[in-house]
């Protein structure tokens, strides 16, 4: 399974980065969204996979039955998902405003602020 997921994660990173390298600002956006997902899946995979129970203590027990999935990795991913969502929302609107301001979605037209 790690092999499969490694391939999947690698593929996600590759596609995300490919999209980020496009000239179309909208593709850039989709690439960023994919990249967040890819990073989350990477954390999930490298923290170790157990086809096991969720890290939830059954009622009446005081610890989850072993083996259980790593809860800390999950908490990290949850935090990362939320952060990613907030940032993506901002980016979406920023892109929207950029297209409005410049009148094109071609990133090559956005270079007035450099030299």
């Amino acid at each position: 399974m790690p092999l499969l997921l490694a391939v999947v994660i690698g593929g996600l990173y590759a596609t995300a980065l490919y999209l980020i390298l496009r000239r179309s600002i909208v593709k850039l956006l989709i690439g960023l969204a994919l990249l967040t997902n890819a990073a989350n899946l990477l954390i999930f995979t490298s923290a170790g996979l157990t086809r096991a129970t969720a890290p939830i203590v059954p009622l009446g027990s005081d610890r989850p039955p072993a083996p259980f999935a790593d809860p800390l990795a999950q908490a990290m991913i949850l935090t990362a998902i939320v952060i990613g969502f907030g940032v993506l929302a901002f980016m979406v609107v920023l892109v929207h405003r950029a297209v409005q301001a410049v009148g094109t979605d071609d990133l090559d037209d956005l270079k007035a602020t450099d030299t």
């Binding site: 980020i20 600002i25 850039l28 960023l32 990249l35 967040t36 990073a39 990477l42 954390i43 995979t45 490298s46 923290a47 170790g48 800390l72 990795a73 990290m76 935090t79 990362a80 952060i83 907030g86 940032v87 901002f90 980016m91 920023l94 892109v95 405003r97 950029a98 301001a101 410049v102 990133l107 956005l110 270079k111 007035a112 602020t113 450099d114 030299t115």
Partner: protein, 505 residues
């Protein structure tokens, strides 16, 4: 529990919340912003004082013991950074009271500003690698919003690059954290240091270290990862530029120094040499970028890049003197660079442009401003006996001691080019006579003789920061003693690890 440690985090948080609750009530927010920034600066001073006298301060959030709960920890390096951040927060707040326009003040400037301070302070105090990631994101999102606040086209364009490249950096960071956690099963940095010191896979650790190098290298704007900075820093209102210039990249530098003294020290022959090479290239490319510019803030922005090279040079040298020099350099640079941006804002307020060609005559009409410009400008270039000289000198001495002649030569040559480009600003904006065009678009109320509103509160922080620059230049020893001690703490992290985890039995 050290209240100063907590206050460094809580004050900006609560101030941000209070400003948010006072949404669109401008006067209230101005008062809250000033009070909050003052209190925050006070807290950081208290923190530094405690750390300097009582040693490393730690707190376990939620009372969960390390390495299980999140640790916030202040060693001398953190505390120094926090103090400088607090000082800049206060200075820029006072400046903003005079310079920020009412609409931006109404629409969230103060809450965003304090969230930014929260993120920065959090990053300095984080004792947990994932928590560091979170604070980075807090800082970034606040900087995103501040960058676009006002929504002018240049801001939006600059923001696209700034946001994209910083998000890529965050992705690297997150990836690296994920792999690190996978390898070690822990996030607490002290615990990580222990785990990595006895790792069975040193090569993998080096690889992860390189990922962190890229992630923080982007944040810190090193070669060849700095592009977001010159593309965006000159676009927002100047107070925002100033706080960005002072703090943001320095958080990246902080993180570089932290992880490459605490975590990734297994392969210094490779990684730290690499950092040294990057340092040299960063200095050189940054200063050349500045030489090519003809606009006040763009020159300053490129100089940030260049100066980052000095800051990581000490890290690359990896000696007490080098690191002490780096920390001294960061401190000096934050004060000086923020001040230069603030001064550019005053020039803009008086002349309505940042373009050097259209500026001029400020020496004749604004001798005080001219003098105030010279202090940070020469300090930036390392002219003795200002703060930049002591900073550069320590790095050069450390470099010579390590026989790294190439990077030392680069550092000194870049200093000269920095001087060149500061005198360019001086000659064009101050010495040169009034140009006919400069009056083309005067600010409302900036006509001859009429002092535009808000100038007093814009001048005040500039004067204070210039005084500080002179003071730490002339009396560098106290600060240097402090940075030296900070560097020793960094190079021997046992104290840090024990402060967080308790001594090993």
């Amino acid at each position: 529990m050290n209240l100063f440690l907590l206050g460094t985090l809580l004050v900006p948080l609560l101030t941000g919340i209070a400003c948010l609750l006072a949404w669109r009530r401008r006067t209230t927010q101005r008062g809250l912003g000033l009070a909050g920034a003052t209190a925050h600066f006070g807290a950081t001073l208290g923190l530094l004082w405690t750390v300097a006298s009582d040693g490393i301060q730690t707190a376990q959030i939620g009372a969960w013991p390390a390495p299980f709960g999140i640790t916030i920890v202040a060693d001398l390096f953190s505390a120094i950074m926090a103090v400088v951040a607090g000082m800049m927060g206060l200075a820029v707040t006072v400046y903003s009271l005079g310079s920020m326009d009412a609409r931006r003040e109404e629409y969230g400037y103060y809450p965003l500003f304090h969230v930014l301070l929260l993120g920065v302070s959090g990053a300095f105090l984080a004792g947990d690698i994932f928590n560091l990631y979170v604070w980075f994101e807090v800082m970034l999102i606040a900087s995103f919003a501040l960058l676009v606040l006002g929504g002018e086209r240049a801001q939006i364009e600059g923001a696209i690059k700034y946001v994209t490249l910083n998000l890529i950096s965050s992705a690297f960071f997150l990836t690296a954290v994920g792999i690190l956690y996978g390898m070690t099963g822990t996030l607490n940095m002290a615990d990580l240091a222990r785990a990595l010191s006895r790792t069975a896979a040193p090569g993998l650790v080096t690889t992860v270290g390189l990922l962190f190098l890229v992630a923080f290298g982007i944040k810190a704007a090193t070669f060849p990862l700095f592009f977001w900075l010159p593309a965006s820093y000159h676009t927002p209102p100047v107070a925002t530029s100033a706080i960005f210039a002072g703090l943001l990249t320095k958080v990246g530098v902080y993180a570089l120094i932290r992880v490459f003294t605490l975590l990734f020290v297994q392969d210094p022959g490779f990684i730290h040499t690499l950092i040294l090479v990057i340092a040299g290239l960063t200095m050189a490319t940054g200063v050349l970028g500045a030489v090519a510019q003809n606009e006040f803030r763009r020159i300053l922005a490129f100089h940030i890049v260049s100066q980052i090279g000095y800051m990581i040079m000490g890290l690359g040298l990896f000696t007490p003197l080098g690191l002490a020099g780096s920390i001294f350099y960061i401190t000096h640079h934050i004060i000086v660079k923020t001040n230069l941006f603030l001064i550019s804002g005053i020039a803009y307020r008086l002349r309505g442009t940042y373009v050097l060609k259209d500026l001029g005559g400020l020496y004749r009409t604004q001798p005080a401003l001219a003098l105030l410009f010279l202090v940070p400008a020469f300090s930036l270039a390392g002219v003795p006996p200002l703060s930049g000289f002591a900073a550069k000198l320590s790095l050069v001495q450390a470099g010579l001691a390590g026989q790294q002649y190439a990077v030392v030569a680069t550092a000194l040559a870049v200093g000269l080019l920095t001087l060149f480009s500061m005198t360019k600003i001086w000659a064009e904006a101050f010495w040169k006579g009034d140009t006919g065009e400069s009056a083309a678009t005067p600010r409302p109320g900036s006509a001859a003789g009429v002092r535009p509103r808000g100038l007093t509160s814009m001048f005040m922080p500039v004067v204070v920061l210039a005084a500080v620059t002179v003071a730490i230049g002339l009396a560098a020893q106290p600060l240097f003693t402090l940075t030296w001690r900070a560097a020793e703490q960094l190079l021997d992290p046992t104290a840090y690890i024990n402060a967080v985890l308790g001594s090993p039995r």
